[in-house]
Structure formats: structure tokens, C-alpha cells
């Protein structure tokens, strides 16, 4: 049933997108921290 697979796929797509945004913001922050550390040293 394509609806069944669509529903399960959509669920994981949504979760993956959210995890992706979290990962992206983590890397952004890490870069910012590196910048600050470089400026201080």
C-alpha cells in the first residue's frame, strides 16, 4: 500500500530534516566558537 509507505517515509523525512537543522546549527556554533578562540589568542 503506497499510502502506508508514504506515511512511514514522510515521518522519517520530517525527523531527518529536523536532525539536519540541529546538526547544521551545531556546526555553525562550533565555527563561531573557533572564531572567538582565534580572536582571543
Amino acid at each position: 500500500m503506497k499510502f502506508l509507505f508514504a506515511a512511514y517515509a514522510a515521518t522519517w523525512l520530517i525527523h531527518t530534516c529536523y536532525m539536519g537543522t540541529l546538526a547544521r546549527r551545531f556546526t555553525q556554533l562550533r565555527n563561531q566558537i573557533k572564531e572567538i578562540a582565534e580572536r582571543k589568542s
Binding site: M1, L4, A7, T11, L22, Q32, I36
Partner: protein, 230 residues
């Protein structure tokens, strides 16, 4: 603490995988609806998880209003954000289940789905308010909005319920008793998704704390910088 995260992550992944297997293969096939009914395991478990997360937001908001604790504010934000993610899943899987079974994508009188939509709208507006307000007052204003939203929830439910009694509509979602074997699979999926939600909240919490630290550091930097040094 840090090593706990990957371990918990591994356990959660295993749980989710097992729950998925149970939902798709091991669980008995429903009589009338067929295999499409299996969406129910993801749909309902996500709904329960979302409601718990919103309840966490409500409690954290009240704690903030009483104690002005920054930790409570971060927990409120995390609860709302991850809650919206799970709520989105509910709103997407709902119509995908309704369409093959009842022939319609949406029924405005369906109490649960419509209430969930309004809940989603309220919390999305909460998140937008948090993004658009100046950081000094944000926790306070957001907490107040969360209280209003929570007060609204029973009213939303009743108003849509009465609407349905006046305008009878097909009920989307399970009707009546659930086979105990299906209940086990549902609870398993709920456990798996709750662990997953906990992971997401944990990560989001750490992200938010880190972000606030960085913002504070940057703000201090620009304050202490002598003028014209750029």
C-alpha cells in the same frame, strides 16, 4: 554524561528498528482496513509523544513564570520545538491514513485531527513569537503565551466536539476496541518514539545552552572592545 548520548542513541535506534519491524510485519493485519491501518502505530505514538512534549512546555512555562529560572525557559523552548516536529508527523500521517480508508483527506469535524491542527498552530505561533521578540523579554512573553495556549486546549476540543455532534462526519482514526496484540505494538512504538524524542530534546537543549553562551560571549566582546579598533 557525554558518553551516555551515543549509548542511548544506539539503544533508541535498536528500539525504533524493532518497533518498525513489529509495526510493519509482526503485528496482525486489521480486518476492515488492511495493511494501511499500520500507519496507526506511527500516527498515534507520535501524537502521544507530541502531547507529552507540549505538556512539558506548559509546566516549564509555569515554572519560569514563578521562578524565573533560565533552565525552565530552555526546557520550554525545547519541548515546544520537538513537540511541533512530532505534531507535524501526526498531521501528515493522519490524512495519509484517512485518504485510502475513508476516501477523504480531511474532515473538519474530526475532533482529534482538527484539535491537533489547532494545537500545531498555537505552538508554531509560539515559536514564531520566540524568534521575533527581542531577547530580553522573550522568555516571559513566551511563557505567558504558552499558558494561554494550554488554557485554550480543552476549549478547542469541546468546540470541535460539539461541531461534530451537529454536523456528523466520518471519524478518522480507530473506532472501538483495539486488539491487545496491536496495543503491544503501539506501546512499543510509543516507547521507541519517546526515547527518540528524549534524544532530540537532549540535543536541542545542549544546542540552545551553547548558543546562548556564544551569544553572551559575543555581546561581551563587542562591549569590551575599544572604539575604532575594527
Amino acid at each position: 554524561m557525554k558518553r551516555l548520548f551515543p549509548i542511548f542513541g544506539a539503544i533508541t535506534t535498536a528500539l525504533l528498528g524493532f518497533a518498525l519491524y513489529e509495526a510493519l510485519i509482526a503485528a496482525p493485519t486489521e480486518q476492515t482496513m488492511g495493511n494501511v491501518q499500520r500507519i496507526f502505530y506511527y500516527h498515534v505514538s507520535s501524537a502521544w509523544t507530541a502531547f507529552i512534549l507540549f505538556a512539558i512546555n506548559f509546566v516549564a512555562s509555569i515554572v519560569y513564570l514563578v521562578k524565573r529560572s533560565e533552565k525552565a525557559d530552555v526546557i520550554a523552548l525545547v519541548g515546544a520545538e520537538v513537540g511541533v516536529v512530532f505534531c507535524t508527523v501526526v498531521l501528515v500521517t493522519g490524512p495519509l491514513w484517512a485518504r485510502p480508508v475513508w476516501g477523504i483527506w480531511w474532515a473538519p469535524g474530526d475532533v482529534r485531527l482538527t484539535s491537533t491542527l489547532v494545537l500545531w498552530l498555537i505552538y508554531v505561533s509560539y515559536l514564531i513569537l520566540r524568534r521575533f521578540s527581542s531577547s530580553g523579554q522573550t522568555p516571559m512573553i513566551a511563557a505567558v503565551l504558552a499558558v494561554f495556549g494550554a488554557l485554550d486546549v480543552p476549549l478547542v476540543y469541546f468546540s470541535i466536539w460539539f461541531f461534530r455532534t451537529q454536523h456528523p462526519q466520518p471519524v478518522i482514526g480507530d473506532g472501538g476496541a483495539i486488539d491487545p496484540r496491536m496495543m503491544h505494538v503501539l506501546l512499543l512504538n510509543w516507547l521507541a518514539f519517546s526515547c527518540f524524542a528524549a534524544l532530540l530534546c537532549w540535543a536541542r537543549y545542549r544546542l540552545e545552552v551553547l548558543r546562548r553562551d556564544v551569544d553572551e560571549t559575543l555581546a561581551l566582546e563587542s562591549l569590551l572592545e575599544p572604539r575604532g579598533s575594527r
